[in-house]
């Protein structure tokens, strides 16, 4: 396993047709952290992740370890060890679980390997299958998996991809209580060797597993610290946690195609 790296974001700005979705974010995630990003809808959480992974153009600076990420293409950023998941689980529905993982493991493969058939199961894939608990379903098409299983498969894909920074967008949305528990424990194990950032609306889940928390509001970082520190911050209470049923309301994930503007 390669060395742990942290994420260092400075004055990050993203705007869509004049609307500032991310408006000068400074954020530090230390190596091996399990950081939760929370905040109301439209706070800029997903856009932040989009900017870090190269999906949207941004200004400012994003350093991972010593590498500047901004300005690079998506697949090059991915190759420097950063992986992400999406609000709606995005796996290759027509391929089997095994094939999904094999593809995730193979970005560095040479031409000849690519043109040959897969023989057997690569070792990293087998390990990931065990880790995310999908070994039984290795030959099932990913499209037939239950929602939670798809989320796990996505995490598994990040593991075989051997990323050093995982950016997870609402990994437990739509999961049962037991599944959330299992996912949380999985994330704790993973973060021993990698840096993990989780966007989440589920406050209970956040309280149970977060090592540190950043609260985003209107494109800026409102507050940062441990769960307890953040919960005690009056600014946060005002905009977010103060609302009685905020957690429940915000639990409904917005569809992926919603326009930010």
């Amino acid at each position: 396993m390669s060395e742990l790296s942290g994420l260092r974001i400075r004055q990050l700005r993203v705007s869509f047709d004049g609307f500032k979705a991310v408006d000068g974010v400074d954020l530090d995630v230390r190596p091996g952290d399990l950081r939760f990003l929370i905040g109301p809808n439209g706070a800029g959480k997903t856009t932040l992740v989009d900017a870090v992974t190269g999906l949207v153009k941004a200004e400012g600076s994003v350093l991972f370890g010593d590498e500047e990420l901004l300005g690079r293409s998506v697949h090059k950023i991915a190759r420097s060890g950063i992986g992400r998941t999406f609000q709606t689980a995005t796996v290759f529905e027509e391929l089997t679980v095994l094939q999904n993982l094999d593809i995730a493991a193979g970005a560095g493969r040479g031409m000849l390997t690519m043109l040959r058939r897969r023989k057997g199961v690569p070792e990293s894939v087998a390990r990931a299958l065990e880790t995310v608990g999908l070994a039984e379903l290795a030959d099932s098409p990913a499209g037939t998996l239950a929602h939670g299983q798809k989320q796990w498969l996505e995490i598994g894909m990040l593991l075989v991809q051997d990323v050093r920074l995982l950016l997870l967008d609402e990994p437990v949305a739509g999961m049962s209580h037991d599944e959330r528990q299992a996912t949380g424990e999985l994330l704790e194990r993973i973060s021993e060797e990698r840096t993990v950032v989780v966007i989440e609306h589920d406050m209970d889940f956040m309280r149970s597993f977060a090592r540190s928390v950043s609260v985003l509001h209107a494109g800026r970082v409102l507050s940062e610290g441990t769960v307890a520190e953040v919960q005690a911050d009056p600014k946060v209470q005002e905009v977010y946690l103060g609302h009685a049923a905020a957690g429940d309301v915000l639990d409904t994930a917005a569809p992926a195609a919603v326009q930010e503007a």
Partner: protein, 298 residues
């Protein structure tokens, strides 16, 4: 100087025809992303409507005026029927839609051949529309054809009507809602099915109107639609999908470009240059002149 001015005017008049043909597509292709290859046959239906109406209305001018709304209804009804029968099964499958509607266009052409005969048919234009207006007199007079002015006026009127419909009416708001986010629109209680069909009705109806206008400048026959349809699609692609203003600008730019190049080279070379230019343009702006930003992954 007269030449440059003259070609610019010619280009605008070519652009007006392009715009009128493409306008219906800006709704069905631009807003709804449906590649309807039978759009050209809806134009044909509009032209044949004029032909049929002239059999009972002898005044050429009156028949043309009557043909405009009737052709809108005829072509619109054909479009809504097509949407209901086939296209609603094919959203999200663009190439399948293209192939299926191509099959439809084959059948409509043959149907026209069987109903109206294989040869082209004739319509009479009102005398007013076969003449021209002299803008600059003298030895090399600069004239503009009345038929083209009529088409330009019609195109502008159609653009205004369409954009008002999209902006001001609740139907327009519903259409834009569905275009921007189908799921969300459905959740908010909009019947996407009905909106789709209405949008298709209007888009196809505009093709019918274009067909009426085309009887003033071109042939009326079973294959009249196939010759012009790709140009119309290109206007939308270059203008930017879902962007009315892009469609308008690009139609006129392509018209002027075509006419200027044609004057200095040949028709074939001009066509090839324009097509290659379009491909190059899309390298530069792959989403067209104006883009609609969404945060969609797919």
């Amino acid at each position: 100087m007269t030449v440059i001015l003259g070609q610019t005017f010619t280009g605008i008049s070519i652009g007006a025809v392009l715009l009128l043909i493409a306008l219906g597509l800006s709704l069905t292709f631009g807003q709804m992303n449906v590649i309807n290859m039978a759009h050209g046959e809806f134009i044909m239906a509009g032209a044949y409507t004029t032909y049929v109406l002239q059999k009972s209305i002898t005044s050429a001018g009156l028949s043309l005026l009557v043909a405009l709304p009737v052709a809108f209804l005829v072509a619109g009804a054909l479009g809504a029927l097509l949407e209901w029968l086939l296209i609603r099964r094919l959203y999200l499958r663009p190439l399948d839609t293209l192939l299926v509607t191509w099959g439809v266009s084959l059948m409509l052409q043959q149907l026209a051949r069987d109903i109206f005969g294989a040869p082209n048919v004739q319509t009479r234009a009102p005398d007013l529309l076969t003449g021209n207006i002299t803008l600059i007199g003298g030895d090399d007079p600069l004239t503009v054809a009345n038929s083209r002015l009529f088409i330009l006026g019609l195109a502008i009127a159609a653009v205004v009507a369409l954009s008002l419909t999209l902006r001001m009416t609740s139907l327009g708001r519903r259409i834009r809602g569905v275009v921007q986010n189908r799921d969300l629109a459905e959740v908010s209680g909009i019947s996407t099915e009905r909106v789709d069909r209405t949008a298709f009705f209007i888009g196809s109806g505009l093709a019918g109107v274009a067909g009426v206008a085309l009887t003033l400048v071109g042939p009326i026959g079973p294959t009249m639609g196939t010759n012009i349809i790709i140009d119309a699609f290109l206007v939308i692609v270059v203008g930017g999908i879902g962007q009315l203003k892009g469609t308008v600008i690009v139609a006129f730019v392509l018209g002027v470009l075509q006419s200027v190049l044609e004057y200095s080279t040949t028709v074939s070379v001009a066509k090839v240059l324009v097509l290659v230019g379009i491909v190059a343009f899309l390298q530069w702006r792959p989403q067209g002149l104006y883009t609609l930003r969404t945060r969609s992954l797919v």
